[in-house]
Symmetry: C2
Subunit: 316 residues, 2 copies
């Protein structure tokens, strides 16, 4: 779609409901609230919803937000590649054509909406919205700028990852002209962790196992470990990058117990190794630097299979 067509839609309707994805991150929320405030500034009614509620981490985006009372007539999904990602409290919008417009940046978008605008090479969905808002010629308020900056910074790992584009840097440069307190936003997003999370990272780091002349590093997260920490299960997500943080390691393996005898393996690699190829022999897959698979057996059997495969790929 042309950006102009999307702006026409904003003009033509009056009561918008904006859907964001479950386990919300800075991009989906930055898009949701950025778009909501933009529409309200246009004189429209707009609300944002999330199946899991709005987490404290991003509360600067919705400190002043109050829900408006109206019956939605136009439904927009932002940063949602698949209806299943809407979550259990938004199940009514998961049917085909329940969403009027989807704005997203995932190549894998399932085209579930009546209209979809997907830019798979955009660093963040918030970057697409920023370009749309700019084209409108309407003023962008500080809070909108802060929401969009949050989205772009989140999805690029603060401009660190491969998916960071010149466009993302240019947008950040422009958004810094607004009062967005970016240093504080970044601190909250990238530096601050819950006590529980700090505790888990500490335990996991202490238990890092090095193999094959320190080129392979493994962490094992058993159900027993998860229960013993007394920490919310969600805090155990996103640990897969830890094994690769050790100098010299080219193959990082995270072994997480699902049930008795079933383990989920997350694989991260440096440029020397194809993570997807590593996993394919176990029926898994993914991307070249990040992939996954599932293995069955005792923990010892699973580790043995992984290390045998590790020896193959590292010596290749």
């Amino acid at each position: 779609m042309e950006y102009r067509e999307i702006l026409d839609i904003f003009e033509q309707h009056d009561k918008f409901l904006i859907l964001t994805h479950k386990s919300p991150d800075g991009d989906t929320l930055g898009c949701g609230f950025g778009l909501c405030y933009f529409l309200r500034d246009m004189g429209k009614q707009a609300n944002v919803v999330n199946s899991d509620g709005f987490p404290d981490r991003y509360d600067y985006m919705y400190a002043e937000y109050t829900e408006q009372d109206f019956k939605p007539e136009y439904i927009i999904a932002v940063d949602i590649a698949d209806p299943a990602l809407m979550g259990k409290n938004l199940v009514e919008y998961q049917e085909t054509n329940a969403v009027d417009l989807c704005i997203d940046h995932h190549f894998s978008n399932k085209n579930y909406a009546k209209l979809s605008h997907v830019e798979g090479d955009a660093s963040a969905a918030a970057l697409i919205l920023y370009k749309i808002f700019k084209l409108s010629g309407r003023p962008i308020s500080d809070i909108i700028a802060k929401c969009l900056y949050t989205g772009i910074a989140t999805d690029t790992g603060c401009f660190k990852y491969e998916n960071t584009t010149p466009d993302a840097h240019n947008a950040a440069a422009e958004l810094m002209a607004y009062n967005i307190d970016y240093a504080n936003v970044n601190r909250r997003m990238f530096d601050v962790k819950s006590k529980g999370r700090l505790q888990i990272e500490q335990i996991v780091t202490a238990a890092m196992e090095y193999y094959l002349e320190d080129r392979c590093c493994m962490i094992v997260i058993t159900t027993e470990l998860m229960n013993s920490c007394g920490v919310d299960q969600a805090e155990f997500d996103g640990l897969a990058s830890i094994p690769l943080s050790a100098e010299g390691v080219m193959l990082g393996l995270t072994v997480k117990q699902r049930h008795e005898g079933v383990y989920k393996i997350s694989v991260r690699t440096t440029e020397e190794i194809d993570a997807s190829a590593f996993c394919s022999v176990f029926g898994g897959g993914g991307h070249i630097r990040a992939a996954g698979c599932e293995l069955k057996g005792t923990l010892e059997e699973v580790k043995e299979k992984l290390l045998e495969r590790a020896k193959q790929v590292i010596n290749a």
Copy 2:
């Protein structure tokens, strides 16, 4: 100085020696090697020196570098605010006027060189060099671009900190047009840690002490702890940000033993607290978010003084 005058200097001389600061970081080395390659591309002779040698972490900048054999006739210091920062192996250049030209971005620059170009509001010294190189109209090679990107990313914490400017983002956007493999550069700079460092961070995180309803967090690093790790002392630098990484903490205190009965205190704060004011009552000082002081006494006495002061500033 005008950038044009600096380019004239590059034209007018033939044999350059480039000085970088001790305990080298990505900015001083990015400037050093970026400038060296730029001068060599101009047909000049140029070498880079560092008192401590060139660390492995940044070896992608000097993998192809070989020292040239010549007697220097023009000395340039990059990213060196104070001659004392040249280090013990470059003591011959610490005398007044021993350096011909200094290019730097520290407001605190001591103006020790014959000519100084200091932009205190530049995010990185590499950003200044980039602008100078651009103005020359000469081609910038991939390796020069990679060196300059490294400098800018290093000093802004990958575009995370307060000192990140629109200029820094715009330069990054332009430098990404070159083959600089920025994701890998960033991974090496920001994600990879030595085994020793990982071990230390794990030990320190495990020993985080929370006070005053978790708004104050303290870590204590004793000589005994440092010795027991069997890790290089330099690995214990830069831990002061850890206490502030816990959610809700507004005052982070790092207590590091210097000698028996002497402790160095590093203070980090969120926007609610003035770190410099915290330290001033102990005869220390610094910046509003990062400051330091020294306290004498037993560890218990030192902690008691700090917590008494913490109570004052948190309740204020």
